[in-house]
Structure formats: C-alpha cells, structure tokens
C-alpha cells in the first residue's frame, strides 16, 4: 500500500483535531471564556514553529527578505506565546482564590 500524500494526512489531522477541540471547548464554562480566548491566542502563537523553520535556513546576506520575514514572524508569534500564556495565568490566578 502506498502512503498517503502529506496534504491528505494533514487534512485528516485537521478535521479530527477540530472535532476533538469542539468536544473539549464546548465544556468550558462561560466564566472562563475570556481566559479561554487569551489562552487560544497563546496557542495560535504556534506559528512560531514556522518562523523558526524559515529563519533556520535563511541567511541574512543571501536572502535578506526571507530572513526578515522569518524574524518578524518570530517576533509576532513570541509576543502571542509569552503574552498570551502570562496574561491567562494572571487571570486564572484570580479565579483560584475563593
């Protein structure tokens, strides 16, 4: 049997992940919707992986435009990751004390 093309595998994964996400996230109570959103913000910073892969192979001297795009992608995504997880933690701490 031939293995599936990577695009198709990706599509399988995408659909199943969406369904799994829907199941889990529907159970988040309204009280936590703001932290859910800022946490999701942080997770969408996963694009940092893309920025890292781009930056790893681009040389500032040879391909300055690609390298700059990679750098800005890393900056944007890191803001999301660090800011998103930190502010979510700050909020959830307030919910913990009773």
């Amino acid at each position: 049997m031939e293995s599936m093309p990577i695009m198709l595998v990706g599509l399988y994964v995408f659909i199943l992940a969406t369904l799994a996400g829907k199941e889990v996230i529907t159970k988040v109570p309204p009280t936590l919707h703001t932290p859910l959103m800022s946490g999701a913000n942080a997770i969408s910073g996963i694009a940092i992986i893309g920025g890292l892969i781009i930056s790893a192979k681009a040389d500032m001297g040879d391909e300055p435009i690609v390298a700059i795009l990679g750098l800005v992608a890393i900056i944007f995504a890191t803001i999301n990751v660090v800011g998103g997880f930190m502010v979510t933690d700050r909020m959830l701490e307030m919910f913990k004390k009773k």
Binding site: P5, I6, M7, G10, V13, A17, T18, A20, G21, K22, I25, K27, V28, P30, T31, L32, H33, T34, P35, L36, M37, S38, G39, A40, N41, A42, I43, S44, G45, A47, I49, G50, G51, L52, I53, I54, S55, A56, A58, I65, L69, G70, V72, I74, F76, A77, I79, V82, G83, G84, F85, M86, V87, T88, D89, R90, M91, L92, M94, K96
Partner: protein, 460 residues
C-alpha cells in the same frame, strides 16, 4: 531523529488538547494553561533541535524582542482592557502565519512554478493571515476608541468587497496554476489587507465580541494553513483547536444577541432602528431614587440579584460593588450575580472583572441558570446594563425580539443605576425604566456605588 521529533510533536499536540480540557473548571484551569505552555515549549525545543540552524543570531533576537513585548503587555494590561489585548494579539498570530506563507512563497517562487498543494495553502494562509492582521488592527482601534465604533458600510463598500474577493480568487488560482508572479502576489497581499480593514470596519462597536471571537478563530486557521505549507502536524492540530474555540465562542455570542453571523458581519447593526421619536416619547415617567433610598430598599431586603453591565466595567466600579456585596451579606442578605453572556466587551469579560474584585465565581450565574429565580427575589440591582434587561425582547415586533434577556422585571423591586434614560447599543427605549416597581438611581457607576456603600454602612 525525525521519528523522535515527530513523537515529541505528538506529545506536544496531546498536551495542548489536555490543557484545554482542564479549562472546563476554574479549579483546574490554571494547570491547564500551564500544560498548554509546556506543550508550546516542547514544540519549540523539538523544532530547534531538529532543524539545521545556520545562524542563531536572528532567532535569539526575535525571541528576545517578542518575549519582552509580550511579557510587558501581559503584566501591564488592565483587566478592563482585555478585549483590546486579545484583539491585537489575534492580529499578531495571523500576521506571523502570513509572514511564514510569504517566506515560503519566495522560497518556492524561484523555481518558476508553484506546486499545487503548497501553492494553494500558501494562498489560503496569506489570505486568512492578512485579513486577520489588518482586521484585528481595526478591531483594536474600535475597542480602544481610536476609530469610530459605528459600523462603516454602504452599498458601494459591499460591492467593493465583492470585487476584491473576486480578485483574491482569480489571482490566487492564476498564481498557483500558471505563474507565481511577484507583482501579483504583492497585489494579493494588499487586497487581503484591505479586505480585513473593510470587513471589520463594517461591524459596529457593540458587535465587537463577535468580531474578536471570529478573528480569534481565523488566527488559528491561519496557523493551521501554515502547518499545511510546512507539513507540520503540531501546527495543524493546535491551529485547528484555536479555530474551533473561536468558532464556538462566535456562535455563543451570536446566540446571546439572537443574531446570525451573516447579520453581524454584513448587517451594519446599530445605525438603524433608533429613531428619536421612539425614545422617551409619550407621558411615561421614570421614578428616581437617591443613594439613601436605594440603601434602605437594599438593606432591608432578603434577597438581591446584582446585574452588572458594561457601564460597570467602564466606570471600574467592580471593587466598590464587591464592598456593597460584603455589606449586604453581613446583614444576612442573600446576594447573587446574574451575568449575561454579552455583558462585557468579549466573551466572559464580566466574570474576569468580578473575579478581579474577589467575587467568588460560584456566586455568578448566567441567564438560563438564574432567570426563574427573579420572581422570588426582593431587589434586582442593575449596574450599567440596558439592552440585556430590556423586556421589549419578548415583544415580537421589537428589533431585539427573541434576544435572550435577564428577567429582572419579575423581581419585586428593580433599582437601575445608570447615567440617564438613554438607550443602549440596540438604540431602543427600555420600558423597564418606566415600570411601577422600577427606580432609577442616576449617576456614573463609581461615585454612585460609593455613595450607596456609605449609606448601607450607616443603616442599623
């Protein structure tokens, strides 16, 4: 090596999902967020180990700058400004994915032909990422008050949107199918950015909770598309999780306003429906009450339900409200909070503001949980809310017909703390203000609340 890397990515993807699952209860939510952060750390570490890195300089520079900005923002932001922060962060997420798509385009374009698979995902990632980026900038501007909150839309702009969208499809297909021309790609980016601006500018300020939920979803979709480009499963999975989360919240917000998504995005709500003669017309009179009177009613009640609205958040009066709650509870009064899903400016915003003021979350109830309790309640105290307590929603002729509301008019007494009788975002009069059991306590939420606290304290 690749095998172990893929295994670690799998663990990371699992931790993202498991972390989100912990968000189903306030007791475990903080650990859930930390699990997701760990998942991110694993994914980043694996990428750095697995990828052959030519120079570390720019990677380290980027991470340092991003961490500094992100950490500062996370520490400084006021809880009332969370919608702005989430709004602008959506844009960064979308922007990062768009930049990845742009860089991959440049890498592949040199060959002269774009392979159909990566080519089409590059176009999708660029489109969604760019729309998210510029749209989020507009959403941020509206929430922060830099741009008008009024929906900017008309027939010409709707036509223009259609033309721009057509251009996106045609040029995208052309670049993937025939010629990955650099000029066309730049035009594609410019048009996508313009579309983002126009689409969000057409949405009214009151509908921003829907807009930022939707943009949240887009930022996840863009990350997923970037994952397709790079063939990276952890990007696809976590992007899909964010996409699903944003879509669920969008749905909840639309339901809470009894509007369809299409109506929010294209409706230009808030411009029509409000006519001057409808408001304050006739011989209706509203009874007003001062702090002393309100304190008497509240202080000698047995049960009070507090309904906080956006006005409370603007006035930052949540801490004074908590003082009032404590005083009432010391007098043996049963105090509950009724929080409407669109009470704040983003999903769950009011809950965060009350949590900041140390209101225990188990005293907060949503509309479905608390609505049948109003009839047995002595006083409903409404602080800076309007449309969400408007009984007109039960009138099938009204523009807000069918919108889920809090049934405060069933309580024995209703005290409304508000600056004036002016209508809310929906632009319609509120008959609640003129009911016999209703009393208007005019004034800005913060000083009024402080007066009220003082008067309740002086009761014996």
């Amino acid at each position: 090596m690749t095998f172990y890397a893929d295994l670690a990515y799998l663990i990371s993807a699992f931790l993202f999902l498991a972390g989100l699952k912990q968000l189903s209860s306030p007791a475990t939510a903080r650990r859930g967020n930390q699990m997701a952060a760990l998942a991110m750390l694993i994914a980043i570490a694996v990428t750095l180990v697995q990828t052959e890195i030519l120079t570390w300089t720019w990677i380290i520079t980027g991470v340092l700058i991003g961490s500094l900005v992100g950490a500062t923002a996370a520490r400084m932001v006021k809880m009332t400004a969370m919608p702005e922060m989430v709004g602008i962060f959506n844009g960064f997420g979308g922007g990062a994915s768009a930049l990845v798509a742009g860089a991959e385009f440049l890498n592949l374009q040199q060959a002269g032909v774009l392979p159909a698979g990566p080519g089409s995902t590059i176009m999708l990632a660029m489109l969604i990422g760019a729309v998210t980026f510029s749209g989020s900038a507009v959403a941020f501007g509206k929430l922060a008050g830099y741009i008008t909150g009024n929906p900017v839309t008309n027939n010409f702009l709707r036509f223009l949107n259609a033309v721009l969208f057509l251009f996106i499809i045609v040029s995208g297909v052309y670049m993937v199918g025939w010629d990955p021309d650099m000029t066309i790609f730049l035009a594609f980016i410019g048009v996508a950015l313009l579309l983002g601006i126009l689409l969000v500018n057409a949405i009214g300020g009151a509908d921003m909770p829907v807009a930022i939920s939707l943009l949240n979803s887009y930022s996840g979709l863009a990350a997923s598309m970037a994952g397709f480009i790079l063939g990276n499963m952890v990007l696809i999975i976590s992007g899909a999780l964010v996409g699903a989360s944003g879509l669920i919240l969008t749905n909840i917000m639309c339901k809470a306003m009894n509007r369809s998504l299409a109506n929010v995005v294209f409706g230009g709500f808030g411009t029509e429906g409000a006519t001057a003669d409808q408001i304050g017309a006739g011989d209706k009179t509203a009874r007003s009450v001062d702090a002393e009177g309100a304190a008497m009613i509240l202080g000698y009640a047995q049960s009070v339900i507090i309904v906080p609205g956006y006005g409370l958040a603007v006035a930052q009066a949540q801490h004074d409200l908590k003082k009032l709650q404590d005083l009432l509870e010391d007098r043996g009064i049963d105090v509950k909070y009724a929080v409407h899903p669109v009470a704040g400016r983003m999903p769950g915003h009011m809950n965060v503001l009350l949590a900041e003021a140390d209101v225990p979350y188990d005293q907060l109830y949503d509309d479905e949980e608390i609505n049948d309790q109003f009839k047995d309640t002595d006083v409903a105290l409404i602080v800076g809310a309007n449309d969400v307590v408007n009984p007109e929603a039960r009138n099938p002729q009204s523009v807000i017909a069918g919108m889920p509301i809090l049934d405060v008019d069933y309580a024995k007494n209703v005290i409304i703390m508000k600056r004036s009788l002016s209508p809310g975002f929906a632009g319609i009069d509120n008959p609640l203000f003129y009911m016999e059991k209703s009393m208007m306590f005019f004034g800005s939420a913060k000083p009024s609340m402080q007066d009220l606290v003082r008067e309740v304290r002086e009761l014996d």
